[in-house]
């Protein structure tokens, strides 16, 4: 015994099997890890212990009463029985109590077939009730467009309550009343405002909280599950797309501790509802009277090749260009750039919201230096130009966890942005550069400048940089934090002065010995860079002899022939309508799942692209994690996966290297060119040197893109749009 204590090991017995376990764990954790089934309702590995359902009672030697396994710590020499007559009697009694008020409406309950109460009642309950009195009825609540309620089914496990406080970061649900009158709800009518609210649907062990859009549409056992990756942010949340008869019925999270833990954002959960709105289901070409008419694939492809060949013959390869969605897959990015470069053009880009391209190849692959998990262990976090909670909900959750563990957070943001975690120093401003320069100057004045040569820029330059008290505080927290990180978000990325902001942030991170972490836009921006879908280098970052033009240049000076790949131009691109309309002046090939305004008015050829869940592919998340997924359903109508469309385009144009049979083959080709092990590399702001000026220091920060406006699929999801409307506080409309 002595020695085992020294080794920090506890010896216990569960059901007469000896186990050596780590101290401090609860019995239920040990049982779970060793395959011993203990029934439970309130316990959840990701939530605090409440021990109020009492379903997990087990017999422990020398304990006079049964003990809840979820709230009993392992102790040396403990002997536990989970199936002894006493334990079984206790479990059976608890089950009987829980079923007193629970309606017997399983046949009409969506949870049927995946209900903890149903399963546990089967395993541990009696076969009839002794209860003669009236069952209680509880009024349903209106939680908004996403979560439906059937509150008479609630067993008061309080998982949804704890989720709100502990994960959602906003306590909206609680238990009001007492005893038989206790109800779970918000007390006053309100839509749930957490961007993670849908997770309570999965947490609820019974059918009290259900997916509103999915209601009464399928049974759990009819569904087939396909692992996939959520395409709306750079976290790369693991999801299961569940289908029936070739149709997507719902999306639920797939556990991945390293990425999204057990959660997904509402955006990832409910976006599928927009996947089939205003779809293009057949290839189309514009006829001589200016109307789009349906045609077959061959004719449509021939039209593309013919026009592009003509344009290139007269004006050269650089007269064509391509703009892709930042959420295209690696395979699509790769083949698209291969196609364009095969035609002799380096005009390819996906950085739709970027305005300042002056850094060029220097900041070639913006990414997180830390892993998502490492964010939790930071003690100082400096957020620059980011509505991180709405941009990357599950990255923000890691930041929140860090704050709960004591991290201090400082921000430079517009004043409209608020977070569900505590901020110690917040610089509220409309301009990023001056504030950032202030922090940098403060660090420099503390002699941390090393050989960075920042003096000319920050102290002797033409601009006088003011160092405010907040800037000093931020400098303090970064320098003092043992693990400190700088996080640049979408507002920094989209800033007119982006390159200087990135330079200053890099200088700050170097001087304060903090990690540099950058998130940009879309689901696969890093994949886009690695696959070469940028004007300045091809796949694997092989520099091109003559740099092509970026997306902003393509808008202001439209190429004669342009491919729009998965882009809803008038909503996805930065710039005003008329500028974007000018893109339509040339020959426009729209490869798109959706009919949108620019396509409708200006596209010369429309090629229907497979939509959400309809094709295989790979995303590289912000950490540099390559995650492949397969298609869950067949593409709608005549639509085809992007890699297939691009492969056929390539071979129709008689280009080399398009003899590819599968998306895996495409991926292997990209991987062979890229350093896929570069997972842990620093964001590449290679050959960093101090800028000589502060650029457009007066540049006003852009407005954040609202939570449910980020891409074409999300914008088409009616329940998400309805929820956005219902919430006044959650979404920023500056």
């Amino acid at each position: 015994m002595e020695s085992s204590a020294e080794q920090n090991i506890v010896n216990i017995e569960i059901n007469d099997i000896s186990l050596q376990v780590e101290p401090g764990q609860m019995l239920i954790e040990v049982a779970d890890a060793n395959g011993v089934a203990i029934p439970r309702f309130c316990y959840h590995k990701k939530l605090s212990t409440s021990a109020n359902c009492r379903m997990c009672l087990v017999e422990v030697e020398k304990a006079p009463k049964m003990l809840p396994a979820c709230a009993t710590q392992v102790m040396n020499g403990m002997k536990v029985w989970t199936k002894s007559p006493k334990a079984i009697a206790a479990q059976k009694s608890v089950m009987e109590f829980l079923l007193i008020n629970h309606p017997l409406d399983c046949p009409v309950c969506d949870q049927g077939g995946e209900c903890d109460l149903q399963d546990i009642a089967m395993g541990y309950g009696g076969d009839q009730t002794r209860y003669q009195e009236r069952r209680r009825i509880v009024k349903d609540k209106d939680y908004g467009a996403l979560v439906s309620t059937e509150m008479s089914r609630c067993i008061h496990c309080t998982r949804c309550v704890r989720f709100g406080e502990e994960v959602g970061g906003i306590a909206e649900i609680g238990g009001t009343g007492r005893g038989d009158h206790m109800e779970i709800g918000t007390y006053v009518q309100k839509s749930l405002s957490s961007e993670l609210s849908g997770n309570i649907i999965d947490l609820c062990p019974v059918g009290a909280l259900l997916s509103k859009p999915f209601l009464y549409s399928a049974r759990a056992w009819e569904l087939q599950s396909y692992l996939s990756i959520a395409p709306h942010d750079a976290v790369g949340s693991n999801i299961k797309i569940q289908t029936r008869n070739g149709k997507i019925m719902r999306v639920v999270p797939a556990d991945n501790e390293e990425v999204n833990e057990s959660w997904i954002s509402d955006r990832d959960r409910f976006s599928y509802l927009g996947a089939n709105e205003s779809r293009v289901t057949s290839p189309m070409v514009r006829n001589s009277s200016g109307n789009l008419v349906e045609t077959n694939w061959q004719a449509a492809l021939d039209t593309v090749i013919k026009s592009f060949t003509e344009i290139i013959a007269t004006d050269g390869g650089s007269a064509v260009g391509a703009i892709a969605s930042p959420s295209s897959s690696v395979e699509e990015f790769y083949l698209l750039q291969k196609f364009m470069r095969g035609l002799g053009s380096n005009n390819i880009d996906f950085r739709l919201q970027q305005q300042d391209f002056s850094a060029g190849a220097e900041q070639s692959a913006p990414k997180l230096e830390l892993s998502l998990q490492e964010i939790e262990t930071q003690n100082s976090i400096f957020i620059i130009g980011s509505d991180i909670q709405r941009e990357q909900p599950l990255l923000s959750h890691r930041v929140r966890k860090a704050t709960l563990a004591g991290a201090v957070v400082s921000t430079i943001n517009p004043k409209t942005i608020e977070f569900n975690f505590a901020i110690s120093t917040s610089v509220k401003t409309d301009k990023l550069t001056p504030a950032l320069a202030g922090v940098a100057k403060e660090l420099l004045s503390r002699g941390l400048g090393g050989d960075l040569n920042l003096e000319q820029l920050l102290t002797d330059g033409a601009v006088n940089i003011a160092v405010e008290a907040e800037h000093k505080e931020i400098a303090d927290s970064l320098v003092n934090g043992e693990n400190s990180m700088v996080l640049l978000g979408a507002l920094a990325y989209r800033d007119q002065n982006q390159s200087r902001i990135y330079s200053l942030a890099t200088a700050i991170s170097k001087m304060s010995n903090s990690s540099l972490n950058i998130v940009t836009e879309g689901a696969n921006a890093l994949g886009g860079v690695l696959a070469g879908a940028v004007p300045y280098h091809s796949a694997g970052k092989v520099e091109v002899s003559e740099c092509g033009v970026d997306v902003a240049e393509m808008i202001s000076n439209p190429p004669k022939g342009v491919v729009l790949f998965g882009v809803e131009a008038d909503k996805d691109l930065a710039g005003d309508d008329s500028a974007i309309d000018s893109l339509g002046s040339g020959f426009v090939v729209a490869i798109t799942p959706f009919m949108d305004r620019l396509t409708y008015e200006h596209a010369d050829v429309v090629l229907p692209l497979a939509g959400f869940g309809e094709s295989s592919g790979t995303f590289v998340n912000a950490e540099g994690r390559w995650q492949s997924f397969s298609g869950a359903v067949k593409p709608l109508g005549e639509a085809r996966p992007g890699w297939k469309i691009l492969r056929v385009l390539g071979s129709s144009a008689e280009l080399q290297g398009f003899e590819l049979d599968s998306s895996e083959q495409v991926l292997n080709e990209v991987k062979a060119l890229c350093d896929v092990t570069a997972d842990k590399s620093e964001p590449e702001i290679s050959n960093w040197s101090a800028p000589t000026d502060l650029g457009n220091i007066e540049a006003e920060m852009v407005k954040p893109i609202p939570l449910y406006e980020v891409d074409a699929v999300v914008r088409r999801s009616a329940p998400l749009q309805e929820q956005a409307k219902k919430l006044t506080g959650g979404v920023d409309d500056v």
Partner: protein
């Protein structure tokens, strides 16, 4: 516009001061009592929200407390709230007759308020005065030994006394 008066506010501050600075919410019960007293004996959602802001706690957490304890009223109550104990000792000492008589005299059932807004009749659990059961509480006063079979006039006297106050 705050609906809590300055004096109530400073009362609440006194309570807040009794607890550690980061445990402001410990004062929630006292705060609710203070604002309820000031608002003719009942709470409103707005008042509870103000308490939440004052004590830096989520609104729902205040609702939880206010709905849990029977001494907080979430609906308007009469000028006098008559709380009749029907718990075990009082029940054994004929609290049923107390209830019946009060219901009869006031013309309202338990949980209701008289039309003139004078009285609210309320059933409560043990008032901790079992030794003198049956018991009712009105405001800060206890009225004891009310069994009509033993003291037939006591309830009438009580009501007269309360009416007389107005």
């Amino acid at each position: 516009m705050s609906m809590i008066s300055d004096s109530a506010r400073s009362d609440i501050e006194n309570w807040v001061d009794k607890y550690p600075a980061e445990e402001k919410q410990s004062a929630v019960m006292a705060a609710l009592r203070i604002v309820q007293d000031e608002n003719s004996g009942s709470l409103t959602t707005e008042l509870m929200n103000e308490v939440a802001t004052l004590l830096e706690m989520p609104e729902i957490a205040v609702y939880e407390v206010a709905t849990f304890y029977s001494m907080y009223e979430l609906k308007l109550v009469g000028r006098h709230k008559i709380c009749v104990c029907t718990n075990i000792s009082c029940m054994l000492n004929n609290s049923k007759a107390v209830v019946d008589k009060l219901e009869d005299k006031l013309g309202v059932k338990l949980g209701e308020t008289t039309a003139d807004g004078e009285f609210t009749l309320k059933e409560v659990e043990c008032l901790g005065a079992c030794v003198n059961a049956p018991v009712v509480q009105v405001g800060e006063n206890y009225y004891e030994h009310l069994n009509p079979a033993i003291n037939p006039d006591k309830i009438d006297q009580l009501l007269a006394e309360l009416r007389g106050e107005s």
